[in-house]
Symmetry: C2
Subunit: 389 residues, 2 copies
């Protein structure tokens, strides 16, 4: 039958060469980023017509809410280059600015969206960055599902990590509810937080217990992340309606009910943890005291603390009483983490003073840096090692 | 307790405004793309320093392997604009070229990767494009899992769609195995093919039976898509080793075994369909005849046909005999689709002549256009309506 070879496959294979990156990306077989053995990194961009090309990378000193930038150097071949100093192991993001216009690196298809900002990413080194890599360990499953939220009168999309072996076991698993910040959604902890990789790696090394991680969308006005819901390919907004007015807290039992009705879990306080970053820390704080006997493990990562003045939900009516009740009911861990440079540092300091005055026990973890995903990945990595022991 | 409002939340909320798209994307509150009621679309890019800005969109006449491009018009405000003619309903992709450099639209975060090419996307209109939208219908679950492939001596990532209601039913479901083309991976049918949306919408309208759709990675040298496996954030290659040399076909039972051991399925020929595009059509052709009594439904979308001369697998030894056996064993549907402008058109024509000579029945669907995702989404939408009836 091999005699019967037609032109088709050969044609497909030779055509394949035509559709290489070369053809699709304008003659570029450039390597960028190039990660060197000494932990420096070289970036390259072919832009012969550009007058000025800058690179913005989140390893550079931050200027307020955005990392700084550096001017790249133009070579005679029209390729602009920039080499960093020695960097710490980390998952880094960057983008180019070509004559004032933000552009992605056409030689790096790895992109992550943070709110409305899409950047290129790369992972450098091992150490803590090793936790963010897909290593040769057993892998959990990440499912995007839809649950019914009667409290919000809609079905909503949710990301759920189940640990390796979950599907072929009869065991019941504990659950971590993991909440994102303002502008995030049910994709944030997966894409920016490296949650699946962190969990796989910590479970494989025996440092974290196998657990389910539930990542809902904390914007209750929204059914799903941009591009994933009936609103279509919308432009993400930073602050959506009803994100910090009590509605998320009021309707959180819809999520727990869904999870406990659909997964083999330990449907008790001892099998439940909740944590979140920034607005998600705020949600965590208020959910855990509003349902004051529900969670044995509470993690506030760079949290906002108190409702704004316009919030009028019953959730905020009995702050002190419910917090006290939560304390009296007892819990295994109340964990607060924040960076020294975080704009919420002072608020957290005040909250800690308040907890101290009440005699409410907590563990406090202060890190370097500010309100960044770099810190939230570290906090997640540390927090999950303390759970369900 | 509302007296106790600290500055924290207010600070978070007011800071939120600072981190708007405005701050992150250089003062841009531009709407792009703007889809008009008459199905024309306006694109805008703020690039005051640019000399020439072009837009490439896949609604433009194709020039070989890439769509054509048009020059945008610069306004006095430094914003370049371009408005299309009236377009057909479709999921479209586009990108800008600024002074020779490919750039994404910074006002559209919706990006899809096709091999090493990342483009912006939008959906226009209803009609067939309505099938590609997330509509207000029950949604299935999409899971990314890892299965063991002893035949390839590795664990491998796989995308699996389970239909609405799967989790809360005791029913057994039929399975469609859906294979990607050269340069694709286990993300391709989800991201580019709109598989989850197409299935949700066709199942909701009763036009397709509820089924599981299994989307493996057809590059057996690879564990997972770029960025999702131990190789890390690699640059995607168009043609990987062992993609068309028989290894995928030889080890396909690893996938069926995994699915039938892990899902509530009908583990019989009548409960199995297989389809694929281009290289995936080639895999489909050879898998379905190599295991000639395994699938009742076979779909070849713009398929490559025969192995290249260097392929030396036993899979290709008995082409004619196994094809004949497949015919004699019987099947419900052997469906071949190709576009009139497809570079594989002639090869498919020869293959059909061969099937005709053998008396092997098939349904032939000829469409306009060429070797494009637009066609493959249409073929999928049509093919699944014929399955498991």
């Amino acid at each position: 039958m091999k005699k019967l070879l037609f032109a088709a496959a050969g044609l497909l294979l030779s055509s394949a060469a035509l559709i290489s990156q070369q053809a699709l990306w304008g003659g570029s077989e450039i390597v960028s980023p190039e990660i060197h053995d000494d932990y420096t990194v070289t970036f390259r961009l072919q832009a012969p017509n550009a007058t000025e090309v800058k690179i913005t990378g989140d390893w550079m000193p931050w200027q307020g809410w955005t990392p700084g930038s550096e001017i790249m150097e133009k070579g005679e071949d029209g390729i602009w280059t920039y080499t960093t100093g020695v960097l710490e192991p980390e998952l880094y993001s960057y983008l180019f600015t070509v004559d004032g216009l933000n552009c992605h690196d056409p030689n790096n298809v790895n992109l992550i969206r943070d709110v409305a900002r899409v950047t290129n990413v790369f992972i450098l080194g091992d150490g803590r960055a090793g936790l963010y890599r897909v290593n040769d360990v057993p892998h959990g499953t990440v499912a995007r599902r839809w649950y019914d939220s009667p409290g919000n009168n809609k079905t909503r999309r949710i990301s759920i990590y189940t640990p390796p072996g979950y599907e072929n076991s009869r065991e019941k698993y504990p659950v971590l509810y993991l909440l994102h910040g303002v502008g995030g959604d049910e994709e944030a902890w997966i894409a920016l937080g490296g949650t699946a990789q962190i969990m796989d790696n910590l479970i494989a090394s025996g440092k974290a217990k196998p657990m389910i991680v539930v990542m809902p969308n904390g914007n209750v006005s929204q059914q799903a992340a941009p591009g994933e819901g009936p609103e279509g390919f919308i432009k993400p907004s930073f602050q959506l309606p009803n994100t910090m007015d009590g509605k998320m807290e009021e309707t959180f039992m819809d999520i727990i009910k869904f999870v406990e009705g659909n997964y083999r879990v330990i449907p008790k306080k001892e099998g439940r943890a909740i944590a979140g970053l920034s607005m998600g820390g705020y949600h965590t704080l208020h959910i855990s005291r509003y349902y004051p006997n529900t969670f044995d493990y509470i993690g506030l990562f760079s949290p906002a603390i108190l409702p704004n003045e316009s919030a009028d939900s019953k959730v905020y009516d009995d702050f002190e009483a419910t917090l006290k009740k939560q304390m009296e009911n007892g819990y295994e861990l109340y964990w607060i983490a924040i960076g020294k440079a975080d704009f919420l540092y002072g608020a957290v300091e005040e909250y800690r003073a308040r907890l101290d005055a009440m005699g409410m026990p907590y563990i406090y973890r202060e890190s370097e840096g500010g309100h960044t995903w770099s810190n939230w990945r570290i906090y997640l990595s540390e927090f999950v090692q303390e759970l369900f022991k």
